[in-house]
């Protein structure tokens, strides 16, 4: 995919000038962004992840209690954050799709779910590898772990439901019901730290108090988190491009685009 050719940077904000309609609200209007933006997000993600890993492995010191095992944090915490953030975005998409009967949001939901599932799996996997040396067990039936496990199943259930129902609109509605019902899982996960119903350590990173860890550890985690976010943007937009083409393959604009000369 060319980086410079066809990048509609001048056109990027045109859609917002027209008050009557937002051009990026339709699959057809949004489609050019799914072509132009992923390389930029991917490049930025690579840069920030490399920087985050450098800080995490070469700047941040070993932990006083956990030694070097704590370095799993730099992948575990951002992955867990992203798995929850993507679920919230998924819920927003299916909610807007239901409320306004819009076409693009359900497509975005379909594009978000696999990446959310991937991060939920990565959080569980890396968490398990962190738990073994520190807690002495690969898995414990703890509120937060179960909640992350259920999150993976919600993502999987949503993907499976969408794949199982041939009628796209019906699939969107049934999937939306599952995602909106499952959103109760997110506060359970977040509040389990406050209510101390989890073995996991209390929040070391909070908006209301200074961080309970070395600045370099915090920096590494945040850099990786932003890197993971940008990775998600790139991959989800790339998948959204496929979803739009798959769902709109018979529409006039897709046919016209296919016939256009390069």
């Amino acid at each position: 995919m060319p980086l410079s050719a066809n990048f509609p940077v001048r056109d990027l904000f045109k859609g917002f000038k027209n008050r009557d309609r937002c051009r990026y609200c339709s699959p057809q209007g949004f489609y050019p962004l799914t072509r132009a933006l992923p390389p930029w997000f991917a490049a930025a993600s690579l840069f920030l992840c490399a920087l985050g890993l450098f800080v995490g492995f070469f700047v941040a010191p070993a932990d006083a209690q956990q030694g070097d095992a704590y370095r799993i944090m730099f992948i575990h915490v951002p992955a867990a954050w992203m798995s929850m953030l993507i679920y919230l975005l998924l819920a927003l998409c299916v909610g807007v799709g239901l409320a306004f009967n819009a076409r693009l949001p359900p497509m975005a939901a379909q594009a978000l779910a696999p990446t959310g599932a991937m991060f939920a799996f990565l959080a569980l996997w890396s968490g398990s590898l962190w738990a073994k040396p520190i807690w002495g067990a690969w898995w414990v039936w703890d509120t937060r772990l179960i909640s992350e496990f259920i999150l993976l199943f919600l993502y999987s259930g949503f993907i499976a439901l969408q794949a199982a129902i041939d009628d796209e609109h019906l699939a969107d509605k049934v999937g939306a019901a599952l995602v909106l019902a499952g959103i109760v899982n997110i506060p359970i996960n977040v509040l389990s730290v406050e209510s101390r119903t989890t073995l996991l350590q209390g929040a070391s990173i909070s908006l209301s108090s200074p961080p309970g860890m070395a600045a370099s550890m915090l920096a590494g985690t945040l850099l990786m988190a932003v890197g993971f976010f940008l990775y998600s943007c790139a991959v989800v937009l790339l998948r959204l491009r496929c979803v739009i083409l798959e769902r709109e393959r018979d529409s006039n604009w897709v046919v016209a685009r296919g016939n256009a000369s390069p």
Partner: protein
Amino acid sequence: MMWDGWLDFLEMGGYALYVWGSYAAGLALALTEFVLLLLRKRTILGHLGWKNADL
């Protein structure tokens, strides 16, 4: 420099299996997701029969 050479770095204070196991999984998942997406894109573009595959 906090590590005594590359071997010390790879040993990761005795936690090599756990630390590298986590990062290897992350890398493998991201690469798999990316490659599957490129294949999916190729499939749909081929299915559409577009002349210019990069539209």
